[in-house]
Symmetry: C2
Subunit: 199 residues, 2 copies
C-alpha cells in the first residue's frame, strides 16, 4: 500500500508495532498526528527521544527509572523489610496505584517457562536471593499474576526461600471489589469460599 | 498517578491523546517502547520528527504529501478530467487502496455543519469550484461518507455545480461485497433494492 508518502508509510508501519494498534488504527493515529503537528506530533517525538535517552532499569529492583537505583529503592520512606515480587513493571505500577504497599519491589521480567527456556537466572531469582542476604528483609510478598505460569513461578520462589527465616506470603485470592458472583468464574468463587473469613 | 518517572508519565499522557489509545493502553504501549528502545522507540521518535518536518498539505487537492503539489496531482498518468471529492485524507487513501480511480482528488477536510459553524469556505468548496474553471474537468465524483452530514454536503456541492456543464456523480449505495443480507441494516437493503440492476 503506497498511497501515502514514504515518510508517512514508515511512521505508520512503526506505529502498527505498538501493542493495541493494528495497521488500520496506526494509519488513523498517524493522520491525527499529521493534523495536530504542533500540538501532538512534535512534542511526542521529543518525549520519545527524551525517554530513549534517560530511561533505564534500576540495578537493584528492575523498575524503570532515570537513575541507577530507582526512586522507590532510594526512598527513605519505604520499609526495607518488605520486598514485593512482581512479574512486570506494569504490575509494579498497578501496585503503586493502589497506594497501600510501602516496601520495595523486585521485578522478575516474566515467568518461568520450560517451553520458552526461561529459567530462574533469566528472571533474576538468584539476584533476589542475594538481596535477601544483603538487605534486612523479613517478608517477601509474591504478587504474581493468578495464572498457571505466575503461580508456578510463585511456588518455585517460595521453595527457594524456604529455611531462610523469611516470611513468604502471596496476594489473597477472592471476589474482586464490586464483583458480582454471577459474573465470576468457578475458580474464583471456590478460592473465595476456601479463604472465607468470619465476620 | 506518579508511579513512573516524569519523562515516562509525559510520554504516556501524550500517547493517550492518540485516537484508539486510552490511558491504560498508552501505558502498556510506552512500557513496550521502553523495552524495545533500539528496535522501536528510537526509530519511532526519528520517524515522527521526519514527518513533522516534511509532511504538508497539497496546495491544490489537500492530500498529505511532502511537496507543494502531491504525487497524485503532479502525476501524468492521472486523468485530469475527473475529480473525486472526499471528506478526509483517510478516505482518499481508502479510494487509492481500491486501485480503481485514476483521476485526481479534492479533500474537503470535513462536512458542512451548522452546529459546529463549518461553512462551505471552511471546506474549500469555493476552491473546488475554481479548480473546475481552471482545469478541464468533466466529471466530479462525490465519494462522501453515507452519513447524514456526508450526504448533506454532497447535495450542497451538487447544487453549487449545477449548470456548469459538469457531470456530478456519487458512489453507488448497495450491498457490500461479501455482505450477508441478514446482517445489513434496512437502509442499505432498500437502497440496494431501489438501485437494482437487470442481469
Amino acid at each position: 500500500m503506497s498511497e501515502a508518502p514514504r515518510e508517512i508509510e514508515e511512521l505508520i508501519s512503526l506505529m502498527a508495532k505498538l501493542p493495541g494498534l493494528g495497521p488500520r488504527s496506526a494509519r488513523r493515529a498517524v493522520l491525527h498526528l499529521v493534523k495536530k503537528r504542533a500540538l501532538l506530533l512534535t512534542p511526542l517525538s521529543g518525549a520519545m527521544q527524551k525517554v530513549a535517552e534517560t530511561a533505564r532499569e534500576c540495578v537493584s529492583c528492575g523498575n524503570i527509572g532515570t537513575t541507577e537505583r530507582c526512586d522507590i529503592c532510594t526512598s527513605e520512606k519505604r520499609a526495607i523489610g518488605e520486598i514485593c515480587v512482581v512479574e512486570d513493571v506494569a504490575d509494579l505500577w498497578a501496585m503503586e496505584r493502589a497506594r497501600v504497599f510501602r516496601g520495595r519491589y523486585h521485578v522478575l521480567g516474566g515467568t518461568l517457562s520450560a517451553l520458552d527456556a526461561i529459567g530462574p537466572e533469566d528472571l533474576g531469582i538468584p539476584k533476589l536471593v542475594n538481596r535477601l542476604k544483603d538487605e534486612s528483609v523479613t517478608e517477601v510478598i509474591l504478587a504474581l499474576n493468578a495464572t498457571i505460569d505466575g503461580q508456578t513461578t510463585a511456588h518455585y520462589i517460595a521453595d527457594e526461600l524456604e529455611g531462610r527465616g523469611i516470611k513468604v506470603t502471596s496476594l489473597a485470592q477472592g471476589v474482586p471489589v464490586g464483583g458480582e458472583l454471577d459474573y465470576l468464574d468457578d475458580g474464583t468463587i471456590s478460592a473465595a469460599l476456601r479463604a472465607r473469613k468470619s465476620l
